[in-house]
């Protein structure tokens, strides 16, 4: 009975997965996205094999999580490492073929002396756009075929539609002798012809005779160094890495970001751990009145989502209107977030506020886990309070909290939220060629390079991400080895 029910549940679930997969396969086939198509196909086949095959018991429990892991963790990591060797980014998002057709389209100029057309843009029954053109002699054509007028099932686009579908309107072309008819405003048209000709792997400007050749930088470039945009994705080898360490203007700011990232992570762990430890030692005492109240109130900063607290601190630290300057310091004018050094102190302070309750919690927990006999034995042997702490409590505490401290270091190494929300990485370093601030961590720098404002340089950002990964992985691996966590896990 139960077996029947669970078989039914399994059939239902796998059936739904298959149905969704078929829908996805049809949809990806429709747009010819073979990459996604193949992945979907393989994933579906794996699901069916694992859930209906024999001898796949363990995999049935691993597969769902693995599918997500493979796509959204492993694939993206591998892709990041790969993209670090390319120039992908603004102006380099297309394949070479796409870039070429774009360049040719943009290079179109009106053929001198060609007749003006009166045009209307029509939307067909399927929603696609068509061009109805009337030449000066009164001949009307629809997409090049002679017609008497607009077909009844076609709708003439009015100004509002013209504006909202501008890209499609601009892309309309009707080939005629000597070029193609196009329109820019939806009411007048002209014959246009590309000024660039593509032949033999190079572009030639028909009017000036300039030759543009495809270069390794992912551009068509002329001999005097003028490049046609857009470019395309191109494998650039170690250029991104070389640039990070050889560009004079980039090197100094980048090195200081490196140093600051380490300092920030290390100091954050140290300060939060120290404060947490002191509080745990002070408040973990039998018979202390209000112990529970202290504990539940002190962990509040940890319970509040940290992005909210970080924003609150931004407001409080504001130089002109903030609560700290105006309220607590009676109208002082301390540039908490605007002076390079003070800004660093400020983010550390905010991070201390955010992080100490966590350390307080785990230190308290670890303290309570230390067996009373050990402490008692040390006392009997004549250890003083300091000796007891230094020789017994602290070492035992570090054993149980050690891995968490390492994890905390790794977390703070990439603590994007605090930096981005409190200072935005600022104050800015004016001489740096990319937007860089003096409190920027590597990760917030990556975010700015990749998504901040002008000139998204994804290839460069991915190269930086790869470096961060190598650093964090090296640190974690070294510490994991020391904590014997591995042997315990595989026992």
């Amino acid at each position: 009975m139960n077996d029947l029910r669970s078989l039914g549940a399994k059939l239902l679930l796998v059936g739904v997965v298959n149905a969704l997969a078929v829908y996805g396969l049809v949809a990806t086939y429709a747009v010819r996205d073979w990459g996604i198509f193949v992945v979907l196909l393989v994933a579906t086949a794996a699901v069916d094999y694992v859930y209906f095959g024999r001898r796949t018991l363990a995999t049935r429990y691993l597969l769902p999580g693995m599918l997500f892991l493979v796509v959204f963790q492993i694939y993206v990591v591998v892709y990041t490492a790969y993209a670090g060797f390319t120039n992908v980014g603004d102006g380099h998002n297309l394949t070479r073929e796409q870039a070429l057709s774009h360049i040719l389209a943009v290079s179109e100029k009106r053929v001198p002396g060609s007749p003006p057309y009166r045009v209307q843009v029509l939307a067909g029954p399927d929603g696609r756009l068509h061009l109805l053109a009337t030449d000066p002699r009164g001949t009307t054509t629809l997409d090049g075929e002679p017609v008497a007028g607009a077909p009844a099932d076609h709708r003439v686009l009015q100004l509002r539609d013209l504006v909202s579908r501008q890209q499609e309107v601009l892309a309309l072309r009707v080939p005629v002798e000597g070029g193609s008819i196009r329109t820019e405003d939806g009411s007048t048209g002209y014959i246009a012809r590309p000024t660039l000709r593509y032949a033999g792997g190079q572009l030639t400007d028909a009017t000036t005779g300039t030759v543009y050749r495809a270069t390794e930088r992912g551009f068509f470039e002329s001999d005097d160094g003028r490049a046609l945009t857009p470019g395309w994705r191109e494998f650039v080898g170690f250029d991104n890495y070389v640039r990070a360490f050889s560009d004079e203007r980039l090197r100094a700011p980048l090195l200081s970001v490196f140093a600051w990232t380490f300092a920030f992570a290390l100091l954050s762990v140290l300060t939060t751990f120290l404060l947490g430890l002191v509080l745990a030692l002070a408040l973990n005492k039998e018979g202390l009145r209000g112990r529970g109240v202290y504990r539940s109130l002190l962990v509040l900063p940890y319970a509040v989502p940290s992005f909210l607290s970080a924003l609150v601190w931004t407001g409080m630290l504001n130089q002109s209107f903030g609560f700290i300057n105006q309220g607590l310091l009676g109208g002082a004018d301390v540039p908490w977030l605007n002076d390079p050094t003070l800004a660093k102190v400020s983010v550390l302070l905010v991070n201390l506020w955010l992080g100490f309750p966590y350390m307080f919690l785990i230190c308290t927990g670890a303290l309570q886990a230390i067996p009373g006999e050990v402490v008692e034995a040390a006392r009997i042997d004549g250890a003083g309070a300091w000796q007891l702490f230094r020789r017994v409590t602290l070492p035992l505490l570090l054993v149980s909290t050690g891995p968490l401290l390492v994890a905390s270091f790794a977390f703070n190494f990439n603590n994007f939220t605090v930096i981005y929300f409190v200072t935005g990485g600022g104050p800015n370093v004016p001489e740096a060629p990319i937007t860089l601030g003096s409190t920027d961590l590597l990760i917030s720098m990556v975010y700015k390079v990749a998504f901040g404002g002008a000139g998204r340089e994804w290839g460069f950002a991915c190269a930086m991400s790869t470096i961060i990964f190598l650093i964090v992985a090296a640190i974690s691996a070294a510490s994991f080895r020391r904590t014997r966590a591995l042997e315990e896990t595989y026992a």
């Binding site: 990591v77 506020w353 964090v472």
Partner: protein, 280 residues
């Protein structure tokens, strides 16, 4: 008196000082959220005035959308994360199969790479998916949840496996003798007895998702689809001073779910974390 101070008094001094440090930003936000003038400057004087204007002002921005979005995105991520990680941990804890050791080592390696480092790749991947399957691509919340689930296995599985290992195998065997299938053992025995650690994973995953800004900000552009982190950051970064009252009100309400959940599960968190760290 001095004896009392040496034993207890100084502890109260330390504790009180820490309380002041921990709580004054919260007091400030509460005061600012009640201040009807709603600017940063006006908020400097604590509790100068009190009204609910700022809370009403939240109706003028898509705050309710952000709040609901955050709750369901974080809730769905938390539940799915627990299910995926728990079933994975069950496999590693109860089955012996080829590639088991390698699989665990691989997971340990993979989880060292935080997803935010791959933000660019995630963006490009989701843009590609959007081209074929707009329902789960860039700009959708389902897509965002899927991205978050990529990190579900990672670190959680070790915490959960450690706990499952401590559930006696005799229980499984007894149930199997009575004719229960492995799926039944998983759902009725392991998941129930593992509830404490699963609650911790759910809470940590919920809080982490509520806090996540970077991927949410590149995934969600439509104002009504944003999460609280993305929405409120936009609100403050545009006009820090003028929007301060509304932000404070929104921040207080937004913090409530996390704080409440935390209150209920705090006990489990500490023991879960330390236990996980000791056992690996």
């Amino acid at each position: 008196m001095t004896r009392w101070f040496r034993d207890f008094g100084w502890r109260h001094v330390v504790g009180f000082a820490a309380l002041v440090f921990a709580l004054f930003p919260l007091v400030f936000v509460i005061s600012a959220s009640l201040n009807p003038r709603g600017t940063l400057t006006a908020s400097v004087r604590l509790f100068a005035d009190a009204s609910l204007d700022n809370y009403r002002a939240l109706g003028d921005i898509p705050y309710t959308f952000w709040f609901v979005n955050t709750l369901w995105i974080a809730g769905a991520t938390a539940v799915a994360t627990v299910l995926l990680a728990a079933s994975g941990a069950y496999a590693f804890s109860r089955f012996r199969f080829r590639g088991r050791r390698l699989g665990m080592l691989g997971l340990l390696l993979v989880q060292m790479f935080p997803q935010i480092l791959a933000a660019v790749a995630i963006f490009l991947l989701m843009a590609q998916i959007k081209g074929a399957l707009p329902g789960i691509g860039l700009g959708t919340q389902w897509g965002l949840v899927m991205v978050y689930l990529g990190g579900a296995m990672g670190v959680n599985i070790f915490l959960i496996k450690g706990f499952f290992d401590s559930i006696p195998r005799e229980l499984d065997d007894a149930a199997k003798v009575d004719g229960a299938s492995h799926a039944r053992v998983f759902f009725t025995i392991i998941l129930r007895l593992g509830a404490p650690v699963l609650a911790v994973i759910a809470l940590l995953s919920f809080i982490a998702t509520v806090n996540e800004f970077m991927i949410a900000s590149i995934m969600l552009q439509d104002p009504e689809r944003k999460t609280l982190a993305v929405g409120l950051y936009g609100l403050v970064s545009e006009q820090l001073s003028a929007n301060w009252g509304a932000f404070s009100a929104g921040a207080l309400l937004g913090a409530l779910p996390s704080v409440l959940l935390f209150r209920f599960l705090q006990r489990y968190i500490v023991s879960g974390l330390l236990r996980g760290s000791v056992k690996g």
